[in-house]
Symmetry: C2
Subunit: 253 residues, 2 copies
Amino acid sequence: MVNIVILGTGNLAKHLYSAFSKADNVDVVQIVGRNREELQQFSEKVHTSNDFNAILDADVYLIVVKDDAIAEVSNYLANKKGVVVHTSGATDLNAIKPENSGVFYPLQTFTKGKTVDFSSIPICIEAEEKESLETLRKLAGSISQNVHHIDSEQRKKLHLAAVFVNNFTNYLYGVGEELCLEEGLSFDLLKPLILETAEKVRTMSPKEAQTGPACRNDIKSMESHQELLNNEEHITLYKLLSQAIKQAHEEEL
Amino acid sequence: MVNIVILGTGNLAKHLYSAFSKADNVDVVQIVGRNREELQQFSEKVHTSNDFNAILDADVYLIVVKDDAIAEVSNYLANKKGVVVHTSGATDLNAIKPENSGVFYPLQTFTKGKTVDFSSIPICIEAEEKESLETLRKLAGSISQNVHHIDSEQRKKLHLAAVFVNNFTNYLYGVGEELCLEEGLSFDLLKPLILETAEKVRTMSPKEAQTGPACRNDIKSMESHQELLNNEEHITLYKLLSQAIKQAHEEEL
């Protein structure tokens, strides 16, 4: 049995609580947070507190707060025996003040109210102490079959990669939506393509999967596309991405 | 029953043949193409010819060739009675020389050898003559439940939108893969995130779904991300996309 305390009541904290409360061999002993309203939602199911000086004992303390609040929250755990971890992709292991520190980073985007199947989500773990790493491996393994020991440098790069494939990609979906709406077309038209594009790279490298005018250096098509764009930012983006694709493809030849 | 001739033997031609050959009420009477080797693959199942002067009669002639060859191929159909259509997103209806012209544009990315379920793929149809539009609606409806009457201007914009959500997005997946490989990490780590990002916009507008440092104007995270990038092109792209997300988000406030 791994006993855990979750510090934080935001979106990820809720998703993690929901997953751990269903897991065998994990006991969520307490949820600690400043926001009383958010705490209220947990209070029927688990012990809650808004007093960071009244944290119960546990094997793992999961700090699930905004990046810049991790260090401060970790200070309250200075005298605890268990491993103190944060769940951030971009934050160093040593942001955690107590010596027995670690990271428990689930690499996924979590939407409020949308149930997530943790079993296939990569969970990237790291710990200062060997024994703690094993505890984290056990804890992560209780909700996911996709657990990886990854150091802070690797994790930061992974987080950056996630920005490209998630945040930036989502922005491009938004451009697609805008272009549809300009013509009175539904964004629904693009959804099968969006899904297939994501599905495709499950079995194919993105470089192999690349298609389109830039990839085949079809200058005529690229010019007519740019003429259709009204937004200067979209034109700059179109040029830059096309140039990058063209270059990546030429390097391959 | 709709009788069709497919002109072309490439990737899309194969996918379309495969879908139509299973459809009720559609008869593929002939495949015409220059490439004898490719034709060979069809020859056991359907009448084939590499002579563009020996095209059989049909209700619909589907020109499934590269954009710049559409006009030329359509010339061979000048004396035919059926409707002559191309399957291109970026090409005008009037690239087709015969008067009874149309467009049959399946909005999807087609991968060689990967079976596609046409039933949910949007098929965008357009025709010069009203009766031909009905024929195309029937033909498209035989393989898809997602048929739309869309004019040439709308289709071009849609094709441009597809470049953003497919070609450009795929390029970003490639950047993600590169960043993983630099750290000795598997691209597999990003796949659940890639899929969830695509799934998310099925039920949420991309603008609502936007997350990440640029969206919350987290300058510290954006700076550390840029420090991690070695490739000048990726840095420019990071800055431009972050700026665009930031701006789109500010406009909303």
